[in-house]
């Protein structure tokens, strides 16, 4: 009896249950600018999309992310990575994100929706003090120049991911 319930909580089926619930909430609530959906049949791996918030330099840009849920979710945080290359002070070249709520400030209450919303607001409000991309952090002060560099990189990267072979041929 004791072990039943303790095991039940770390049981993958319970995690799946919670993820299904999150998916339902996410689809019903329809938060603007964010979306996420499981990748294929695997409930533990989702693909998310974030659009840059209005009034920020990221307005009009959209980014794909991968969300990987550990078997201990939501006790352990979901792992989130930018799949679309993202030029941002708190995102490194591999798409890793430096965000406290994904690390030491994680709470079991957070879900896909709040995580994506947090990342969306991180885009417009970077934490300049602990940058992963120092170049972007230095440039952040000059918003006009930042936007110019950002768009250049975004256009280049998005084209690259869309027409990978064509672009690489042209570039070389």
């Amino acid at each position: 009896m004791m072990t039943d319930s303790t095991e039940a909580k770390s049981n993958p089926s319970n995690v799946t249950k919670r993820l299904q619930k999150e998916l339902r909430t996410l689809m019903i609530s329809g938060s603007p600018g964010i979306s996420a959906f499981p990748e294929g049949d695997n409930m533990f791996k989702w693909v998310g999309t974030i659009e840059g918030a209005k009034g920020t330099v990221y307005e009009g840009l959209s980014y794909k992310l991968s969300l990987t849920f550990p078997s201990q979710y939501p006790i352990e945080a979901v792992k989130v990575r930018f799949e679309t290359p993202c030029y941002h002070p708190n995102v490194d070249t591999h798409g890793n994100i430096c965000l406290d709520i994904l690390k030491e400030k994680w709470s079991a209450l957070y879900d896909v929706r709040t995580v994506l919303l947090s990342i969306q607001s991180l885009l417009g409000e970077p934490n300049i003090d602990s940058p992963l991309n120092t170049n972007a952090a230095d440039l952040w002060k000059d918003q006009v120049l930042y936007k110019k560099v950002l768009l250049e990189k975004y256009n280049k990267d998005v084209k690259k991911t869309n027409h990978c072979t064509e672009e690489s041929n042209k570039l070389s």
Binding site: L109, R113, T114, I119, S121, E125
Partner: protein, 183 residues
């Protein structure tokens, strides 16, 4: 940090996509999002399944905070909730999950000799283990004479083992000298 505060609020305030969810949502565990099972409530008023909350606390022994509001929280500061349906309510903190049992490691060398089946006394097993029975008898009697009295039961196997080892070396030395004399 700014992202943190700005996004944790929409979840707690506006988590009611439809009526059905709103009704049931009141008694949902904040961790598994299911209707709380073995419910406990924190001093800050947040409801959890005890197994869920226990798992959360276990993974953060140094920073035990409420997942919802980050107030301090601990096993002793949650209140179990007993509904009407349960005929013999039991404090979920007592039954779930079982506390880790105290660890008592067997002395390693005693394991191979368990098959001898000579009762529970380690000294006997050791003595027979060497196979030198004339000395073995002495060893066991010596152990009984000075080993036992005044020792706490949990420690006795280890101390007996130490004493036994010292005796083994003593006997090995004697045998060695004996062999030297013969040879």
């Amino acid at each position: 940090m700014s992202a943190d505060s700005s996004t944790s609020s929409p979840k707690t305030e506006g988590q009611a996509p439809n009526e059905d969810d709103q009704q049931h949502g009141t008694y949902e565990c904040n961790i598994c999002l299911e209707t709380a099972n073995d419910p406990v409530v924190s001093m800050c008023g947040h409801l959890f399944c005890w197994p869920c909350l226990h798992q959360w606390l276990e993974t953060r022994p140094n920073r035990q905070t409420c997942p919802v509001c980050k107030a301090g929280i601990s096993k002793d500061k949650v209140i179990p909730i007993y509904g009407r349906g349960n005929p013999n309510p039991q404090d979920p903190r007592e039954k779930l999950p079982p506390r880790p049992a105290g660890q008592r490691s067997e002395p390693e060398s005693s394991n191979p000799f368990h098959n001898f089946g000579l009762g529970g006394d380690g000294n006997f097993q050791f003595s027979f283990g060497i196979g030198a029975f004339p000395f073995g008898i002495f060893a066991s009697t010596l152990n009984f004479n000075d080993g036992r009295p005044g020792q706490p039961p949990p420690n006795s196997p280890q101390q007996a083992e130490e004493q036994f080892l010292s005796k083994v070396f003593l006997w090995v030395a004697i045998i060695f000298i004996f062999w030297l004399l013969i040879a």
